[in-house]
């Protein structure tokens, strides 16, 4: 409380006393008004000056509260977003599992288009999967990575199937190779050594046709002569990446009475070179047998579908990044960022699209005797690859190879968001208390102070009025 002295001069005792008591009363009146303001606003002060020691706390707490309100917005947004993505992923999982279940019981009954019931269902499932991948939340594409304004899948099921068909046709033309190079392998004999080599892989996204070997394979007959019944095998990679084994058996008599069903054998010759020549012929037939099998045809079809999907320009409109989860983030706390992004180009989604696509793209004919086997091989492959997608030996970290793993990532994100929400709510409550303790007043204490000032003021008014009457002037 201040006592306003005169600027200068006025030294009359009465005047000074009068003025000083007036200024005391005015000060009391001012504090009365301020208390009234405190009571009506609930705030200690309406200036930073008046906050006193609590000022720094008020500023810092307010800053944190502002940030928390931002995080709360983000959390709300992230929760809704993950909800939508969760539904889409759940449905995709179901499509996969339903298809693979129905394939177990699928009968080879073709309609007029040369397709089974399950194949037609696969087509509508493909369209549904495309729609699910194109889903957006509040204008943001959920499966397009950072290209949130783009559709994840740019084509519809028909276009996709047409593309897959073309890719399968290219596969069918090229995968088998020629009579001399079955499965595009080169089987060469040099002296008593037979070497099998695969052509160098093409540069992606151009497809690498034919069979592949993990390494060139050599069979040397110079030192040891094979014994009757000794089998020679070679692991090859089918066009779709699955492993298959080609086996030939050495025989002293061809055809051998001991030969098993479908055995391809070669005659053990008098010299290594002769044996090698026979081996070459047998191996060529064995590889040719493989490339004309229903299994190879199915693998070729699946590979065709993969070829189509390998070039994302064919169908993917989104952005591809090294870490798809980080392509859409929710910053739920100062130091915690939850990745919620998904990219349709991740192997998991590509695989589902490819399996549905290839299954829907193929057609069969009752007039072709081998088509029954081809269908069976295709359905086994599709069913297998939906249930257990091929995961390469060295998977790219951060990308999902199964829908389940993408779903797990999302669920972990949901949990993190939820935990952050709880944590932030708790922090916010505490900070609001802290802010209240420096900025707010309690009604009780203000009311008590108000009463005290009111009493003082009344007493001052009374004594001032009494004093003013007490002058000798009135008694002379």
């Amino acid at each position: 409380m201040s006592i306003t002295p005169s600027g200068y001069g006025a030294f009359s005792l009465d005047t000074v006393r009068n003025r000083q008591s007036t200024s005391r009363i005015l000060d009391m009146k001012a504090s009365f008004t301020d208390l009234q303001r405190q009571l009506s606003t609930g705030k200690l002060s309406d200036t930073y000056e008046g906050l006193g020691a609590g000022r720094a706390k008020s500023l810092d707490v307010r800053q944190t509260l502002t940030a928390l309100s931002g995080y709360a917005q983000t959390i709300q947004d992230a929760t809704a977003r993950t909800g939508v993505a969760d539904l889409a992923l759940t449905r995709m999982e179901k499509i996969g599992s339903d298809l693979s279940k129905s394939l177990v019981l699928s009968a080879y009954e073709l309609d007029s288009n040369g397709q089974t019931l399950q194949q037609k269902a696969a087509k509508s499932n493909l369209q549904e999967t495309i729609d699910l991948l194109n889903q957006d939340y509040a204008g943001r594409s959920l499966f397009a990575g950072r290209a949130a304004d783009k559709k994840a899948v740019t084509v519809d099921a028909d276009t996709m199937i047409a593309g897959i068909k073309a890719a399968i046709a290219a596969r069918k033309t090229n995968d088998g190779g020629t009579a001399a190079n079955p499965g595009r392998l080169t089987i060469a004999t040099a002296g008593s050594v037979v070497t099998v080599t695969a052509p160098a892989p093409a540069v992606a996204p151009a497809p690498t046709y034919g069979l592949q070997l993990s390494a060139p394979k050599s069979f040397d007959f110079s030192a040891t002569t094979p014994t009757d019944g000794q089998s020679f095998s070679m692991d090859v990679l089918m066009p779709d990446g699955a492993t298959s084994t080609v086996r030939v058996v050495a025989r002293s008599v061809v055809p051998s009475p001991d030969a098993g069903a479908g055995e391809i054998s070669f005659l053990i010759g008098g010299s290594g070179a002769v044996t090698a020549g026979a081996f070459n012929t047998a191996m060529t037939s064995a590889v040719t047998a493989l490339t004309t099998s229903a299994d190879f045809s199915a693998a070729s079809s699946v590979a065709g579908a993969k070829d189509y999907f390998a070039d994302t320009a064919n169908w993917y409109g989104g952005d591809t990044s090294a870490t798809p989860r980080a392509s859409a983030t929710a910053r739920v706390d100062e130091d915690q960022t939850v990745g919620l992004g998904m990219e349709a180009s991740e192997p998991a989604f590509q695989n589902l699209l490819a399996q549905l696509g290839v299954f829907a793209a193929e057609s069969f004919s009752t007039t072709v005797a081998t088509d029954g086997d081809r269908y069976a091989a295709l359905k086994t492959r599709v069913s297998d690859q939906i249930r257990n997608p091929v995961v390469p030996a060295s998977p790219i970290a951060g990308k999902a190879y199964t829908i389940q793993s993408a779903h797990t990532d999302l669920a972990l994100g949901q949990v993190a968001v939820k935990e952050a929400k709880q944590r932030n709510t708790d922090t916010q409550a505490q900070l609001e208390n802290a802010l209240s303790s420096v900025e707010d007043v309690t009604t009780e204490s203000v009311a008590a102070q108000l009463l005290a000032v009111q009493n003082q003021l009344q007493a001052s008014y009374q004594t001032t009025s009494m004093l003013s009457k007490l002058s000798l002037v009135n008694y002379l």
Partner: protein, 616 residues
């Protein structure tokens, strides 16, 4: 003894009581007059040859405690100082708005960071982009407004100084006139003394005044610091050259560089003295106004400038990382280095970690503490023709600081390389980076840095912190900071032609730069010290400014309240001696009335006795 002399005595008594009556009536009538000090009639016995010859009035004196009067004047100056300071400090604190109000600068900063948070979680959202851009614009305008309010306060102080100087001149002339009359009456006329003292007291509210008594009741006046204000017959006269105010208008003792008004005293011989430059006024309202104009408000502006500069730099600075060259050096690509940008080199010299800052400086000399880091070696060099043009200068300054052969600089195109003394091992370069201001929203190399805020005074001029030609771009930047008008909302996200719409790189970088990256701030006005600068985020720094200014206002208010109490108590004590109390005067009146009656009674008794004698 005779009846005649008795008659004479009582007659003199009547005269004396009449004179006393006059004094009392004067006191009562002037009870409310400013500067009036209580008078008292001094009566003395008139002595003639045979004894008492009655009473006479020797004079009318002022009842005044001169020690208290001096004290009161000192405190009056103090009050003038604290009152003006409290008023301005409070207004300055209010520049930053009310706690929690949406117009407060801290709230605008909060809105901007919130908008960036929203943008980070949804970068492709067009309305989130626009909201962030608008919030940035509001923040820039908020800083402009705060800067303008501070300059308005400085302009108010400037014109108040002008008005006060005019008043000081008038008062000094008035004091001179009164003093001349006091001298003429040998200091006997209480009214003249009161008139002069009232003017001195008023002067004391404006300026600190030391009064020295001279002969014949005259006085001479000087300020506490020895500035002569008045000597008999010659009042000092002051002039004030008021100037228009701006953020870069500062006081300088050199008249050529001074951009605000100063108080000049011209003495009788025509010599002029820059009173402010010499620090000759230390208290009173003028001292407070000058302190606000040249220190407190300038500091507040500098704090805002630092805030604005940090804000602009945080958004626009691209950190170009250095690359190790073998085991003995580092190199960094300086392409795009702007004046004011710095290349920072970490090194150990003789086992002690050192930081070397090479600041791009096109012209002029590098001022001390060009970077906030108090311990770095600061080198200024011109990069106008790339590192090649800077090599010689940098090398010679490094040699001067550490000795020849300790560090060697070289360049390949725009890449600057620094290598240590290699095998000798007394120096070791451990790191290098360059902070380069981005001037376009996208470009090569694509980076998250965005020139969101620019120096809007000359169009969209990039803020680089240039120190060229002795002019700091930071000075007054708060008044010029603006949103880069060449940006569109999409630039808040898109930093290269292939940036996907949902890429949160840039929003995240902007948000982190504002709320996460702790950087040191140049110490100014109580936020940090030069030796230990305040380190925090841009948002934190704003909070500290508001805190410091609030605290300044609060302590100025406390000081003023304390000062007013002190002054009031001295004033009360002073008034007890020299002030008029009507009660006391009336009590005296009763006494005088009685004395008058008694004297009259004696006269009538003498008359009766005379009559008795006549009837005999």
């Amino acid at each position: 003894m005779s009846l005649t002399s008795a008659l004479g005595n009582s007659l003199s008594g009547l005269r004396a009581t009449q004179a006393q009556m006059e004094v009392i009536s004067g006191n009562v009538s002037n009870a409310g007059t400013q500067g009036y000090s209580r008078r008292s009639a001094v009566t003395v016995e008139t002595v003639n040859g045979s004894g008492t010859g009655g009473v006479r009035i020797e004079g009318i004196i002022r009842l005044l405690d001169s020690v208290l009067q001096k004290e009161l004047r000192t405190e009056t100056s103090g009050s003038g100082y604290t009152a003006a300071k409290a008023s301005y400090a409070s207004q300055l604190s209010n520049v930053f708005g009310q706690p929690g109000s949406s117009s407060a600068l801290t709230s605008m900063m909060g809105s901007f960071t919130n908008a960036l948070q929203a943008l980070q979680s949804d970068p492709s959202n067009a309305s989130a982009r626009t909201a962030a851009l608008n919030a940035a614009g509001s923040l820039a305008r908020g800083i402009n407004t705060a800067s303008r309010n501070i300059q308005d306060l400085r302009a108010n102080a400037e014109s108040a100084i002008g008005a006060d100087v005019t008043r000081v001149n008038a008062l000094l002339k008035g004091i001179a006139a009164s003093d001349a009359r006091v001298a003429a009456t040998q200091g006997k006329d209480a009214g003249l003394l009161d008139q002069r003292d009232a003017q001195i007291n008023e002067l004391a509210t404006l300026i600190d005044v030391k009064v020295t008594d001279g002969p014949f009741g005259t006085v001479s006046l000087a300020t506490g610091a020895g500035l002569r204000l008045y000597d008999t017959g010659s009042p000092a006269q002051f002039s004030f050259d008021q100037r228009p105010m701006s953020a870069t208008a500062l006081y300088d003792i050199d008249p050529a560089k001074r951009a605000v008004g100063t108080i000049t005293m011209t003495d009788q011989s025509g010599r002029t003295v820059d009173v402010l430059g010499q620090g000759l006024i230390r208290s009173g309202e003028i001292a407070a106004l000058v302190e606000m104009r040249d220190k407190s408000l300038v500091d507040a502006q500098a704090q805002l400038d630092t805030l604005a500069a940090s804000l602009a730099s945080a958004a626009s600075t691209r950190q170009q990382a250095g690359v190790a060259v073998g085991t003995s050096g580092f190199e960094v690509d300086t392409a795009g280095l702007k004046p004011g940008n710095a290349i920072t080199i970490s090194a150990t010299v003789g086992g002690v970690a050192r930081t070397i800052s090479i600041v791009s400086l096109t012209s002029g000399t590098l001022p001390a503490n060009a970077t906030p880091d108090p311990n770095d070696l600061e080198i200024g060099a011109s990069f106008t023709s790339g590192p090649a043009g800077a090599l010689a200068s940098v090398q010679s300054q490094l040699d001067a600081a550490f000795g020849a052969g300790k560090f060697t600089v070289s360049n390949t195109g725009s890449t600057l390389r620094i290598v240590d003394d290699g095998a000798a091992g007394t120096t070791d370069v451990t790191g290098m980076s360059a902070g380069i201001t981005a001037t376009a929203s996208s470009g090569t190399p694509g980076s998250a840095a965005l020139p969101l805020f620019v120096d809007a005074a000359g169009g969209n001029v990039a803020y680089t912190g240039s120190l060229d030609g002795g002019v700091s771009q930071r000075a007054g930047f708060a008044s010029r900071i603006g949103l880069n008008s060449s940006l569109s909302a999409s630039d808040l996200v898109v930093y290269s032609p292939t940036t996907p719409a949902g890429d949160d790189t840039r929003p995240k970088a902007l948000l982190d730069a504002l709320t996460k990256a702790a950087t040191p701030f140049t110490a100014v006005g109580g936020v940090g010290t030069t030796a230990s600068p305040y380190t925090g985020t841009v948002s934190d720094y704003l909070n500290r400014i508001v805190d410091v200014q609030g605290s300044n206002a609060e302590s100025a208010k406390r000081l003023d309240e304390g000062q007013q109490v002190v002054q009031a108590s001295i004033e009360s004590r002073f008034s007890e001696t020299s002030g008029v109390s009507v009660d006391q005067e009336l009590a005296n009146l009763v006494q005088i009335q009685n004395a008058y009656s008694a004297n009259a009674r004696i006269m009538s008794a003498v008359k009766e006795m005379m009559d008795l004698l006549m009837r005999m």
